[in-house]
Symmetry: C2
Subunit: 352 residues, 2 copies
């Protein structure tokens, strides 16, 4: 999208750092009474509260975590916020503030950053989160986003990764694997475009997959749903690196094992049809795909009735003793040891 | 220092992201009872408190903010923490936690990151701050550090930028301009080294300057001193972009003017002698040098006796009505309008 030669281009140097921050953030609203002082001083100030504060941070690097040739900047801004809010929700908390730091090379005009901040603002407005600070600087190459999210939770409401107990049910929200397949579709279209820039992609069969890749939603609604259902998970994590990897985190930290049932994994019809088209195993994709930003949690067996018929939640297995290991039970009723094929950015080729 | 061919090199990919974070942070101690949960879950947890929370964040980019050819990684880690703590102290707060996110290209071996984290750990131990989270990822070029610092302050103790009043005294801690000159000395030595790698630099005359550039200290002690003196500043900011730029922030946000006296600017003898050597004006350097990380604040005239004879503090001027403007009174008793020559990273050449 940056290749559009007709768009206006205003150099970042014209504004300077302070002018730039003011320009990009002047239309942001504040939603939380806890935000005592936002942007404009040495530090932001958050009011005292009887609740605990949750702090989480993520770094997104162009060429490693995102590709601007198919990721519109507005979507990138939105997604970067989602990735962080998701971590607050995974603690069973309420996200209230974010800080956003960006490093960009001078090749980005002001209009590109306006797009990015439009996405950040949409995320803030939708999730009622306040932008309270950040830093804006130049980079020697590409774009980098560092976001910190701050949330609150009552002490007794916080859910850690280490509380799963033998016989607990393992539950996942939404469905799995679509974001990964969305990325595969976009990568394929990029290659087609590089060979033939005149080609018109027909993406009707992949709309859900692409939306899950480009505009994921953090599951604030699931945290609210669990409160309504009066269910407090015993352990919880969000799915950023793939289901296998995240289940293994819960089990390792809780000192348990697990059984996950292949036929219980929630898959969207587009995931099934597109897996076939790409000649990939949909179970593998659900287990290792990553970037779903769904919540994975365990609940006591006694909560079965509260969970079982909820369309937003799938019971995919249960916790077992650590000695039994972490296994997938296949449709053919075979047990296969789970392996984490999560994303290791350091194993990717260095593009320097 | 990365050119030392004899050092051990362990590839980051061998450890993976989780192993890497664990390896780098396993020896960090926790100092604050407010740190309920540090590294190891979706988010860190900070206990509820009757105090306000202060949040500040900074992004440091290789090739823009630091040059690894003369900045040892241990010093970089230390300085990156100082830059953030300084912002908490500039609110009159107590820094308690930090998160550290880094992006590094695969050319950095594990041993380089260990050096970086040794500096971060030294800063945490010295300032009694807890590392509670972060993110570690690969970059496509160079190194980037994003640090968020979290502090506390009683609501009535917080000092903002906008409280300066006509007749207030303008006070600065420590001395000015040394960090900037330290950078000039290091840049000169780098050029000498590039011409003649056998040359042995004699840096005895610049030790203070170089230390101020490579190992600045955040002025936690000044915040404590002010409490002892029972002085609460009416406005405060830390000096990262140069005295002029920071004074202008205070005056603009407080809707005041100021008079700064050239003969009151605190200069170390090495600043004076090295300015002469570089044929630079030491007043200019004190006003625009940057990276001093001293505290600049205003106090009511009634506090004059508490401040005047303290060796850590210099009264450099006073606040006047906004209509009188922001001026420097020279040794020749001329008034010159202050100009912000602060650092605008976007005006530097793009090195892409």
């Amino acid at each position: 999208m940056l290749e559009d030669k007709n768009q206006e281009r205003t150099s970042l140097a014209e504004l300077g750092e302070f002018g730039l921050i003011n320009h990009l953030t002047e239309h942001f609203k504040l939603y939380n009474s806890s935000t005592a002082k936002g942007i404009g001083d040495d530090a932001a100030v958050i009011s005292a509260s009887e609740k605990e504060r949750l702090i989480t941070t993520d770094l997104l690097v162009e060429g490693v975590h995102f590709d601007l040739s198919y990721m519109p900047l507005k979507h990138l801004g939105y997604k970067a916020v989602m990735v962080n809010l998701s971590d607050v929700y995974a603690m069973n908390g309420v996200a209230e503030q974010i800080t956003v730091s960006i490093a960009v090379s001078n090749r980005f005009p002001l209009e590109a950053l306006e797009e990015l901040y439009a996405g950040i603002q949409l995320a803030c407005d939708t999730y009622k989160v306040d932008l309270i600070g950040g830093d804006t600087t130049s980079s020697t190459k590409g774009m980098l986003l560092s976001i910190t999210a701050i949330g609150t939770a009552e002490k007794e409401e916080i859910v850690y990764r280490d509380g799963a107990k033998d016989t607990d049910l393992i539950v996942v929200s939404g469905d799995l694997g679509a974001a990964y397949l969305g990325l595969q579709v976009l990568e394929r279209e990029k290659q087609v475009f590089q060979v033939n820039p005149q080609s018109q992609p027909d993406l009707d069969n992949y709309t859900y997959l692409i939306e899950r890749q480009l505009k994921p939603e953090a599951r604030k609604d699931v945290v609210e749903l669990l409160k309504e259902l009066e269910v407090k998970p015993t352990s919880m994590i969000d799915i950023s690196d793939g289901l296998s990897s995240e289940i293994m985190h819960l089990c390792t930290q809780s000192k348990t094992g697990c059984k996950i049932y292949e036929d219980k994994l929630p898959l969207d019809p587009q995931v099934i049809s597109t897996s076939e088209e790409f000649k990939m195993d949909s179970t593998m994709i659900a287990l290792s795909g990553g970037e779903d930003y769904e919540l994975l949690f365990t609940v006591p067996l006694a909560d079965f009735d509260k969970i079982k018929s909820n369309p937003n939640l799938s019971i995919i297995g249960h916790v077992v003793a650590q000695s039994e290991g972490m296994n997938l039970v296949t449709r053919a009723n075979q047990e296969i040891e789970l392996k984490a094929q999560g994303w290791n950015t350091f194993k990717q080729g260095d593009q320097e």
